[in-house]
Amino acid sequence: MIDIVSQISVGLSIASILLLIALGLAIIYGTMGVINLAHGEFVMLGAYAVWFLQTYLGIGLFAGLILVFVLIGLVGWVVEWSLIRRLYDRPLDTILATWGVGVILQQGVRLAAGAELRYVKMPDALVNPVAFMGYDESAYRIFIFVVAVALLFVTYILVFRTEFGLQLRAITQNRDIARCFGVNAKRIYSLTFAYGAGLAGLAGALVSPLKSVSPDMGTNYVVDAFLVVVAGGVQSLLGTVASSYLIGQASGVLAFLSDDTMAKAIVFLSVVVLIRLFPQGLFAMRVRRS
């Protein structure tokens, strides 16, 4: 029984990181239909922002979080404003354009901050493990879990309980009709994209103490995030949550049984098989889109 509990907590830890990273992508992809391959680079930017704030300005992780969210959100807003909004009629081309954005961001950071690995210090308060149900759990991982759940809650409220969310959902269902009712689609899209980018930045900031920070770290995250979103079913927040949980647990168990690489390979392949069997994802919302 001891192993099972610790195994589940490892899985939960992976799942909460996945959820953090996938949440922003799920919002952007699910509502706007934009495939943002620069998502991983937004995560990377978030990590670098924290590193920069910590190293040069002496601002700790906690204090920096809001700042990072705003900063990366701003980057996302600029990208949407200058690029994405020109491509709403060509969703496949958003893949290409955002990939180009990813290249620029990645190289820009490489030129500005160097290609070497950077490390971000964990907040002092969370360095020591805490006792939980008789086990020593990393306080930082628990913190990440709490933040992930909190962000999920905020996103849920935003989408389903606010005027903004109502307009967003209206546009998602039918953009033209929504505009006839006076919804400013451009503004909503800009804000949504900025929010998704901000979430990615937060995710990067939060994982930075656990993993080394490098300019090309985003590539892996974007693939992970897409698999989570696609497996869970686009346009379904619940699906994203469930699939992060499943994929997180599966990764944890498989990594325990073999090693990290094999775990990743097997999980990826399983998700591909899953998409084959359930092309709509596990928790597809039955929304008919025109």
């Binding site: 239909g33 495939i35 690029l83 020109r86 491509l87 060509r90 969703p91 496949l92 081309d93 893949i95 290409l96 354009a97 990939w99 180009g100 954005v101 990813g102 290249v103 620029i104 990645q106 190289q107 820009g108 490489r110 030129l111 590539t219 892996n220 693939v223 897409f226 698999l227 696609v230 090693d259 690489t261 094999m262 990743k264 390979a265 990826f268 392949l269 998700v271 591909v272 098989v273 998409i275 084959r276 069997l277 092309p279 008919r288 889109r289 025109s290």
Partner: protein
């Protein structure tokens, strides 16, 4: 695809390109430069592979480097087994296996003692992998975005596995210290004119055969699928089979490019099937013109050529990627069919366009089937 005159004109362009790359060695005798040019041609071939599936069938394969890398490894394995001295241990083992305490040659290395098998595998392995992936995704009528994501995920997985299985693949270092490839008594040294000609001839043949193919009936159906997949389903074609077919053809071409690349570079490395090269292929294709084989080849040659002629320092390469990213975005935004489409725009001004051939083919099939109109896809956004 706009009538016979257009095809003739385009074919002329293809011939001009082939002649141009074939006469290069007459003017250049510097071995180093020739090796560089051969490398550009290999990239051109790789770009043509993507153009076949992306430009002509709308399958955006972000994992094209998988086929390229597998082809490259097949060639490297055969060359490695012929290296003298081949081993530092017993039983003809490649050196990196000895370092990793592998006692006997793994079974899947055995057949690579034969060049014939290696050449076959260099095409067959990428095609087999592509067929499996294609069978999975196209049968489920997965299209567009999902294809891009799945192929990207496969690229990451296969790259991880190759690095992870260091004992059999050389891991991060790849397979190095290779012997010179020899076929029918000709030595294809990396810096030889022979290798350049090999690359140029293969690229020329691929372009001409490819041109004939994309203008054949199958090619037109593929273009119809690219333009409106659901509509072609409604006309009774098995779209998935067509898609998987072109996916495999594209993998085969990329596999050949991979084999050539091993000869040109004299090693195989996991970087050959990493994300950056896959990204580069898409950029070359987009810059040159995805819906034109020769355009795609030119895109690769021009982009890598400019890159190679300016400088090779790391600082420059970083800046170069920055420029490439920006150029890529500009092309996607304003010139979706690449630089070649500018030429076509000029032609189009001279002669008015008369309905594309693929549309006519589908229309004739429709009237035979007694369906006056095809319904627009409900699912396509």
């Amino acid at each position: 695809m706009k009538g016979n005159g257009h095809i003739k004109r385009t074919l002329l362009g293809y011939f001009a390109f082939c002649v141009a790359i074939l006469i290069v060695p007459i003017f250049i005798s510097d071995a180093y430069l020739l090796n560089k040019f051969a490398r550009y041609l290999v990239f051109g071939l790789l770009s043509v592979a993507l153009s076949l599936s992306w430009g002509y069938a709308g399958i955006l394969n972000l994992g094209q480097a998988v086929s390229f890398g597998l082809g490259s490894y097949c060639m490297a394995m055969a060359l490695k087994l012929r290296t003298i001295p081949i081993q530092t241990g017993a039983g003809g083992l490649p050196d990196f296996m000895v370092w990793n305490n592998v006692q006997t040659l793994p079974w899947f290395w055995e057949p690579f003692h034969s060049y014939a098998f290696a050449l076959f595998a260099g095409i067959a392995v990428p095609v087999a992998v592509a067929f499996l992936i294609g069978w999975f995704i196209f049968r489920a009528r997965v299209s567009g975005v999902y294809v891009a994501i799945i192929t990207l995920a496969m690229l990451v997985v296969i790259n991880l596995l190759i690095i992870d299985q260091q004992r059999f693949t050389g891991g991060f270092n790849g397979i190095t210290d290779l012997t010179t490839f020899e076929l029918f008594g000709v030595q294809f040294d990396a810096y030889s004119t022979a290798l350049y000609y090999l690359a140029a001839i293969i690229l020329s043949l691929t372009l001409l055969l490819g041109f004939a193919f994309v203008n054949s009936k199958t090619g037109l159906i593929l273009q119809a699928i690219r333009d409106d997949e659901t509509r072609v389903w409604y006309f009774g074609y098995d779209v998935a089979n067509y898609q998987n077919f072109i996916f495999c053809v594209s993998a085969a071409v990329a596999g050949v490019a991979g084999m050539l690349y091993t000869l040109v570079m004299e090693f195989a490395s996991p970087t050959f099937l990493a994300v950056p090269i896959s990204l580069s292929i898409v950029i070359w294709c987009a810059v040159g013109g995805r819906a034109s084989l020769v355009g795609a080849a030119l895109g690769a040659i021009v982009v890598t050529g400019v890159q190679g002629s300016l400088s090779d320092t790391q600082a420059f390469l970083d800046t170069w990627m920055l420029i490439m990213g920006a150029l890529f975005i500009v092309i996607v935004l304003f010139l979706p069919n690449g630089l070649v489409s500018m030429l076509e725009l000029i032609w189009r001004k001279k002669r008015p366009l008369q309905g594309s051939a693929s549309a006519r083919l589908v229309a004739s099939r429709a009237s035979r089937a007694g369906q006056a109109t095809g319904h627009r896809a409900v699912s396509s956004r």
